[in-house]
């Protein structure tokens, strides 16, 4: 939403010199539109590839496999818009799941063990935040470091064995509300909430400004550090929730939960038109991109297409989206 408004503001002074771009262009030529079009194409192609694909229950079911990563990708989107990045949350999911599982195995009641998991999430976010903000280190380097560190810590805690979770805790993805698996529902609700916060609150506008122009933001009296710290804490706690949801889905916890998941998260944000240098992007884009990724990979798997080909298609998708995002942003800046 706010990207549109910003483009309008940016376009305003040009009205005297050059003719303004038509309103429909401003409204429609946005990266999210491209994601949406790709999503439609993917749906059509996937349906034509396999007669087994177009089944809403199956698609929702498949989405539960990615819902945990997608939830974190939403917060990551905000992080990137604010001009920072966090590559550690996939490891964070594993670490939180491991501390949770370890605690419940040691006899801690489940609600308390969940608390332990959440605290782990907060602690991970805090560490990232302190290193990036207090020590003024680049977030990409810091979080690559913590990516490795958190995964290692998870392995130290859980060892090479998997830890079982109690029978009743298993299967959050099998619980349906109005026919929708809970993880999907959580993802949708989180999207709506974060989308609202980012597009329609002062906090959200400040995030865009921090990412667009940190100096202007400072002069405007925005407490960038405080906002960034809140984002690191938020992504940490979201990762811990996602990790425990994964534990419930799998029924057991190992240190390699969500291994390599950070790549998927970044992929979702980029496919959704988030600008890697900050200041631009939207929750809607990432929301659509998460579905796009699930549709593309599910469509290919159910059509028995070779995994190597699937990687190629995903790579091509990402490249297309980056080219298109840059192209669209350069147009709207003129």
């Amino acid at each position: 939403m706010s990207v549109t408004e910003k483009s309008e503001i940016a376009a305003a002074p040009q009205r005297e010199s050059a003719s303004a771009r038509p309103r429909w262009q401003v409204m429609l030529i946005r990266p999210e539109l491209m994601t949406f079009v790709l999503l439609i194409i993917a749906l059509i192609v996937a349906s034509s590839l396999s007669p087994y694909f177009l089944d809403i229950a199956y698609i929702l079911d498949s989405f539960t496999l990615s819902a945990e990563l997608a939830m974190v990708a939403l917060v990551l989107t905000i992080m990137i818009i604010a001009g920072e990045i966090d590559l550690s949350p996939a490891s964070g999911m594993a670490l939180a799941a491991c501390t949770f599982a370890y605690a419940q195995q040691a006899g801690v009641p489940i609600p308390l063990a969940v608390g332990v998991g959440l605290l782990t999430g907060l602690a991970m976010g805090l560490l990232n935040g302190i290193l990036v903000i207090r020590f003024q280190l680049p977030s990409i380097i810091v979080t690559i470091g913590t990516l490795i560190f958190y995964r290692g810590l998870a392995q130290v805690i859980a060892g090479d064995q998997s830890i079982r979770v109690p029978e009743w805790f298993i299967g959050i993805n099998r619980v349906l509300v109005f026919g929708i698996p809970v993880p999907v529902l959580v993802f949708v609700i989180l999207s709506v909430v974060l989308g609202f916060v980012l597009s329609s609150t002062i906090y959200g506008r400040q995030i865009y400004l921090i990412g667009t122009n940190p100096i202007a933001a400072r002069h405007a009296g925005i407490r960038a550090n405080r906002i960034k710290m809140s984002l690191f804490l938020l992504i940490g706690i979201t990762a811990s929730i996602a990790g425990m949801m994964t534990a419930s889905r799998l029924g057991s916890v190992r240190y390699d939960i969500a291994l390599g998941g950070e790549l998927q998260m970044v992929l979702m944000a980029m496919l959704g038109g988030t600008y890697i240098f900050g200041g631009r992007g939207s929750i809607l884009g990432t929301f659509l991109a998460a579905w796009l990724l699930v549709i593309v990979s599910t469509g290919m798997i159910v059509a028995n297409i070779l995994p190597a080909m699937q990687l190629c298609v995903l790579g091509v998708l990402l490249i297309i989206s980056i080219i298109a995002t840059n192209f669209i942003y350069s147009r709207t800046q003129r």
């Binding site: 194409i41 390699d256 059509a303 028995n304 190597a308």
Partner: protein, 333 residues
């Protein structure tokens, strides 16, 4: 304009990846391997294919790109959605697949683990097909290693992934044999390393073993990728007289190493027979001619009488086959 051409390009790109025809009436059997690019599975798949050709069923092999614990889940879900009748799987994890396999069985799909089992979670599959009684693998391998090094010296194990249930069963049995059988009292296991069934990582781990343990005289690699990588390292360093490599390998991959003396002997079974047995068993259970009950027996062409052992486990042969210079040319898988 640019955007339009990009989209057209994408649509074209996707459209070229059209898949083949879909199965209709016959029983649909799918085998989900640990990962793609693993030649071991070509042999199992060959058994499935030939049996399906004889018996008239549809067979398909799929596998995720990596052998990571959860990577098979979307593939299982997809096969459930495709409405297959039988899922055979070489599980990448003893417990991460429990939920999705339960789902498959709830839909009436016969779930067989083939070439690896859900150790400790056997209730989540209908039956398992293993090449040999895996309790003998560890002792057999230790004996072969011992015979190569005169039963003394430092040895190491080069395994696949830390998670692989079959590997861990064998390694535990090897350790047990080494510790408890006085015959092997002078053999010392100094390290167990994991090459994740990737050639590069296995090579690196092998080189690290040689660097860390200069007194090493033997390496057991109970995985086809691992033994080939270990043999390659020994061959290129020309240290075959000092470090003896053995383990479980494919005759086709190991032939050159055996012929040039890098590896004097290694063991395996016939993976082909696993696929062959799986198809005969599955079709028999589906048409009611075989009862999936412990203690039951049935006849399989070329394999003879197969007995369903405890935990619904079946074996295609009694002992490991040892391959050396004398018989290596008799096998071509």
């Amino acid at each position: 304009m640019l955007k339009k051409s990009i989209l057209i390009g994408l649509a074209f790109g996707l459209a070229t990846i059209v898949t083949g025809a879909f199965a209709q009436d016959p029983i649909k059997i799918v085998y989900i391997g640990k990962n793609t690019g693993n030649p071991y599975f070509d042999s199992i798949t060959g058994g499935f294919e030939d049996a399906c050709q004889v018996k008239g069923c549809d067979f398909l092999f799929v596998a995720p790109p990596t052998a990571e614990a959860t990577s098979q889940i979307p593939f299982i879900e997809a096969q459930i959605q495709r409405g297959v009748n039988v899922i055979g799987i070489a599980p990448n994890s003893p417990d991460a697949l429990n939920q999705v396999l339960d789902e498959a069985r709830a839909k009436g799909i016969l779930v067989l683990t083939v070439n690896g089992d859900l150790v400790g979670n056997e209730s989540h599959r209908d039956a398992t097909i293993l090449p040999v009684d895996f309790t003998k693998t560890g002792p057999n391998q230790v004996e072969l290693m011992g015979s190569m090094i005169n039963y003394e010296g430092d040895i190491a194990i080069l395994s696949a992934t830390t998670e692989a249930p079959d590997q861990n069963t064998w390694i535990a049995a090897m350790k047990d044999t080494l510790a408890n059988n006085p015959k092997y009292a002078n053999m010392h296991l100094v390290a167990t390393v994991y090459g994740d069934d990737q050639p590069e990582k296995s090579t690196t781990e092998m080189e690290a073993l040689l660097a860390n343990y200069p007194d090493l005289v033997g390496v057991i690699a109970p995985t086809t990728v691992g033994i080939a990588a270990a043999a390659q390292v020994v061959q290129s360093r020309m240290i075959a007289d000092k470090v003896h490599v053995t383990g479980l390998g494919l005759p086709s991959e190991m032939r050159d190493f055996v012929k040039d003396g890098t590896v004097s002997a290694f063991q395996l079974w016939s993976p082909y027979n696993e696929g062959w047995l799986a198809v005969h068993f599955a079709l028999g259970v589906l048409d009611g001619s075989i009862k999936n009950e412990v203690g039951g027996t049935f006849e399989v062409p070329n394999l003879g009488t197969i007995t369903i052992n405890d935990l619904n486990a079946m074996n295609t042969q009694a002992e490991l086959t040892t391959f050396d210079i004398n018989n290596i040319d008799d096998f071509n898988f």
